[in-house]
């Protein structure tokens, strides 16, 4: 199935794009996708510290199941305000 990935701020610059679509195996969970992304984008390694993930616009735990077409965002340390 396909999921939509969003990148922001320092992570967007490291990956070199703001978004992409990725194929993941049926039944994949967030942690599986995270491993796949680290292989695909070695530059992500420098940004592991403090990185969080959101699934469908909510912070999500590693065991969160992914669904067809869902949006997954990589959330480096935030600094609004």
């Amino acid at each position: 199935m396909q999921v939509q990935i969003r990148y922001f701020a320092a992570v967007r610059e490291a990956v070199g794009r703001p978004a992409e679509a990725l194929e993941v195996p049926a039944g994949a969970r967030l942690a599986d996708l995270a491993r796949l992304l680290e292989t695909r984008h070695p530059a992500l390694a420098a940004h592991r510290h403090g990185l969080r993930y959101a699934v469908a616009e909510r912070f999500a735990a590693p065991d969160t199941p992914l669904t067809e077409g869902v949006e997954v965002a990589l959330i480096p340390p935030v600094s609004g305000g």
């Binding site: 969003r6 922001f8 701020a9 320092a10 967007r12 610059e13 967030l30 942690a31 995270a34 420098a46 940004h47 592991r48 510290h49 403090g50 990185l51 969080r52 993930y53 959101a54 616009e57 909510r58 912070f59 999500a60 735990a61 590693p62 965002a73 959330i75 480096p76 340390p77 935030v78 600094s79 609004g80 305000g81």
Partner: protein, 160 residues
């Protein structure tokens, strides 16, 4: 009312959004772009947001604080894109029957915004730029305020 905008923030509109004759206290908080950070001259700030999630998070935070602190209303606008030094990056308006609740809520809103809401600040200097709190931020390694944000990859994340 929560809003993201690429124009200067209309603070008077926020003041009006929380107005009402039951309010004894209204507090406006302006988070402004400073000319220097850690002694280094800042030319301008640039903000980026995960817009849908940021709006939802700001709305949920405002509603939680409104209910818990007995506020009358909460309104917040955060600016995106370039913010020149001296202009406001965010403005928060809180109204309440009594001032203690309004002041406590302002402090908590801003503190949690800086932890939970997917908005990012880039500081632009004469010789480069840095995303605050990122791997390339020289402050992030030392500043305890940044260190508290650190978590393992794919950790369960915010909303504490």
């Amino acid at each position: 009312m929560v809003l993201l905008t690429r124009s200067p923030i209309d603070a008077e509109a926020l003041r009006r959004a929380v107005a009402g004759p039951a309010n004894g206290a209204v507090v406006l908080f302006f988070g402004d772009a400073r000319e220097a950070t850690a002694g280094r001259r800042v030319l301008e700030l640039v903000y980026e947001a995960y817009e849908g999630m940021a709006l939802a998070a700001l709305r949920a935070l405002g509603e939680e604080l409104r209910a818990r602190h007995g506020l009358s209303a909460v309104a917040c606008t955060h600016r995106l894109g370039r913010v020149p030094v001296g202009e406001s990056a965010m403005v928060l308006a809180v109204s309440a029957p009594h001032r203690e609740a309004a002041l406590a809520a302002v402090g908590e809103f801003v503190r949690r915004l800086k932890q939970e809401v997917p908005i990012w600040k880039q500081e632009r200097f004469e010789d480069g730029a840095v995303w605050v709190g990122s791997a390339s931020d020289p402050q992030a390694a030392q500043d305890p305020a940044h260190a508290t944000r650190a978590e393992p990859v794919s950790g369960p994340g915010g909303r504490t």
